[in-house]
């Protein structure tokens, strides 16, 4: 099959599969977080945790639980990496140096999974499994929990109780992430993904030479890495490595996995608020933006303008033969539209416009369709902003889903929305002021060099984790500044979103009047999409103009 047909077939099967599971899986997600029943296994876990599953928390207590859990997770993951020499299965790989361990600990706990390390060289199996794989699950479960709390804020009336963090965390893990991962991991093995406890195998090549091929328990991590929109690979080359992603079938399965929860969360949202059309509206905004991004990236990569690509005859640098251009841009668009950041091709080698798409996808705030949980609360925050803007235009106090959007609600939404652009622009700006750092870090010159730095902070600030990976980020400056960018990009929005949920839940429901803007209409959809694009455009056009846009027009 030629490249473009293979890509189109993959898009068609992908959309078909997502449509097939959308209703049942979305409804299942809603049930998971609304059911009064605890499973037996969950009760046993709650006893071990010594938490009372029936006591619900205020938004502030919920936030303290999230922060405490994330803080403890970062400390433990940091220590695991530092103590690697005394842990089993290290294969002689030494302690991860402090800057890298700091960055990686934050990266995996914030659902970023930025890789400043080369997996098969730096990390032994124990740290990969007991450290990194665990946070692949838990950081995803935290994201979904926060989104669910925001939905509860819209649903509940006159209460300060928003659920129990430990229950939401446990249910997301036990009822959603773990069972799917078990099944998918075995399917991935059947399709050729490795699940080996060896560090590698020496092979005698036909030409008489010998090579060592790295092995790892990849399938168990690959499954949750995509399902939880995490993205941190066992291997340095991530999902372009044939042991992580050996064929078009695994490619399709992996893209499906990284989209399935964010997409289905809109159905869960609609079900929980009692109007499924509310969810469809959000999904159509996400879907249209995703489709436009895919089309632009596809066109750009099949029409390269860089001299090396023109000389080669196609933009195949950093792409795998079995995926070609179609399946590479499909993966790139989906991994940056969610907060996954896994890659099956090297975005750094994309054309100016083609690489600009993944970058812009992140700068839109990752809502096309966004990370697990983070995508839903991200777009709901933008919906609040959109209603606020609409309210300003008609001079009326805005409402959304029967809740008034007053000063406190809009402030929370604005804080949640502005955290990411702040760290992206300040981080990029600060890095550009350090020529000593840039000289050793950049892999490319000119506008593409700027794009590498901008991409790094966009990826960290949005907890994406993909990279223009030519940038060398092992200096203390990059390890620490990107680590802090990830922390701010994750937890400021989470706190603001929980606060927003708290003030929404405390309200009574306001009845709909003829003046209420229906939030299931195409008008609202356009307003929301316009807000997403406009906010990103106003914030980032100057930076984008100097990087990807300059390169695209060269």
């Amino acid at each position: 099959m030629p490249d473009s047909w293979a890509g189109l077939v993959q898009v068609a099967i992908l959309l078909g599969a997502l449509a097939l599971v959308y209703r049942p899986f979305g409804d299942y997600l809603a049930r998971v977080y609304t059911s009064e029943q605890h499973w037996k296994a969950e009760r046993a876990l709650y006893r071990l945790f010594r938490v009372n599953p029936s006591s619900e928390q205020r938004w502030s207590t919920y936030a303290v639980s999230v922060l405490a859990f994330s803080f403890v997770s970062i400390v433990v993951l940091y220590l695991l990496q530092r103590l690697q020499p005394v842990l089993p299965w290290n294969f002689g790989r030494g302690a991860i140096e402090p800057g890298m361990a700091f960055n990686t600990a934050i990266s995996f706990v914030t659902n970023t999974n930025w890789q400043s390390y080369a997996g098969e060289v730096a990390m032994g199996h124990f740290v990969q499994l007991a450290g990194l794989t665990v946070q692949n699950f838990l950081s995803a479960a935290v994201g979904i929990a926060v989104a669910v709390v925001l939905v509860r804020g819209f649903v509940r009336r006159s209460t300060d109780r928003l659920g129990n963090f430990w229950v939401d965390l446990t249910r997301g893990t036990i009822r959603v992430l773990l069972p799917i991962s078990v099944v998918v991991a075995v399917v991935l093995v059947a399709l050729g993904v490795v699940q080996s406890l060896r560090s590698g195998v020496t092979v005698s090549n036909p030409d008489g030479s010998q090579s060592t091929i790295a092995l790892a328990p990849a399938a168990s991590q690959e499954a949750i890495k995509e399902l939880g929109t995490n993205g941190g690979g066992i291997f340095n080359a991530n999902s372009s490595h044939p042991f992580e992603n050996p064929s078009s079938w695994t490619n399709l399965l992996e893209i499906f996995l990284l989209l399935v929860i964010p997409v289905s969360m809109t159905r869960a949202f609609g079900t929980m608020v009692g109007s499924r059309r509310q969810g469809y509206t959000l999904l159509s905004v996400m879907g249209v933006l995703w489709g436009v991004m895919l089309a632009v990236a596809w066109w750009a990569e099949t029409h390269p303008n860089g001299p090396a690509a023109l000389l080669a005859g196609a933009s195949l640098e950093g792409k795998e033969q079995r995926f070609g251009i179609g399946q590479s841009v499909l993966f790139a668009t989906s991994t940056t539209g969610t907060s996954t950041g896994a890659v099956n091709s090297m975005h750094d080698s994309f054309s100016g416009l083609g690489g600009g798409v993944p970058l812009l996808n992140m700068l839109l705030g990752e809502v096309t369709p966004g990370g697990v949980g983070a995508g839903l609360y991200g777009i709901l925050v933008l919906a609040v902003i959109a209603m606020f803007l609409a309210g300003l235009m008609v001079g009326r106090t805005p409402e959304y889903l029967g809740k008034k959007l007053g000063r406190r609600e809009v402030t929370c939404a604005a804080v949640a929305m502005l955290a990411m652009p702040t760290v992206v622009l300040l981080g990029t700006g600060a890095a550009l002021l350090m020529p000593g750092e840039l000289d050793t870090a950049l892999n490319n010159t000119g506008p593409h060099g700027l794009s590498e730095v901008l991409y790094a902070y966009a990826s960290a600030g949005n907890n994406n984790g993909s990279a223009f990976a030519g940038l060398t980020v092992t200096s203390d400056w990059f390890q620490s500044s990107l680590g802090i960018a990830m922390l701010i990009g994750r937890f400021i929005p989470i706190i603001a979103v929980l606060c927003l949920a708290g003030s929404l839940a405390a309200q009574r429901k306001v009845p709909e009047t003829p003046g209420t803007l229906p939030t299931t209409s195409p008008l609202f959809g356009s307003l929301l999409a316009g807000t997403v694009v406009l906010v990103a455009a106003l914030t980032f056009i100057p930076a984008l103009a100097l990087g990807p846009i300059a390169e695209a027009l060269a």
């Binding site: 099959m1 010594r50 079938w249 080669a312 950093g318 792409k319």
Partner: protein
């Protein structure tokens, strides 16, 4: 508040420890145990290919064969370039994966593509314009097992000449090792093809 934070941290630690056991030990080792089933184990251990009791490679990993003599006498099909290779062509390091991450505007990258085009054209004895794109661009993983049909076609005449096989025979072998894997881009697996060529050669009467 501080007391609450402290008690939350203790709860967090308990939750993390229990989940580490479940998600970091039981889950991956459980998947590992299932992957010991016949039919799965071969794949879980890297789809290795054995010949006469020695492991000669993995059908999923492309390692470019090296020929010490003059390039025009080279009997091997070659993989795509690897970013971790020492020269413009040649084998990369399969124990450390990755791409070049070079932009198409990078002057060094332009020069590299030009060199590769030249070297491949000389090896195959064709004009540089006949060399396909995948032959002059490094893959994402550096261990891409596949090449395009065009690149396999380009190498067929040389391999036939240097192995004593007929071109038609080599072309048949290429076709046998070309697949879309159902829904993918048509690709030729280089290691499997090279082994098939070697096997076919060994049955020739010298």
């Amino acid at each position: 508040m501080l007391k609450s934070l402290f008690s939350q941290c203790r709860a967090a630690l308990r939750v993390l420890l229990v989940f580490t056991l479940l998600l970091g030990v039981v889950y991956p080792l459980g998947v590992w145990a299932v992957s010991r089933l016949p039919g799965l184990e071969h794949r879980a251990e890297g789809s290795l290919i054995e010949r006469n009791g020695t492991v000669v490679g993995s059908s999923l990993i492309g390692i470019d064969p090296v020929f010490d003599g003059p390039p025009t006498r080279d009997p091997w099909f070659h993989t795509r370039p690897s970013a971790s290779a020492e020269g413009p062509l040649g084998p990369g390091d399969p124990s450390a994966s990755g791409g070049s991450n070079k932009s198409a505007f990078d002057p060094g990258q332009v020069e590299l593509v030009r060199q590769r085009r030249q070297l491949v054209a000389e090896r195959e004895n064709v004009p540089p314009s006949a060399v396909p794109a995948d032959a002059v661009t490094a893959s994402a993983s550096g261990v891409d097992p596949d090449i395009s049909e065009a690149y396999a076609d380009l190498q067929t005449a040389r391999v036939a000449r240097n192995t004593g096989l007929s071109e038609a025979r080599v072309r048949d072998l290429v076709a046998e090792h070309t697949s879309t894997h159902g829904i993918g881009v048509r690709s030729v697996n280089v290691l499997e093809l090279n082994l098939a060529v070697r096997d076919a050669r060994s049955t020739l009467v010298p």
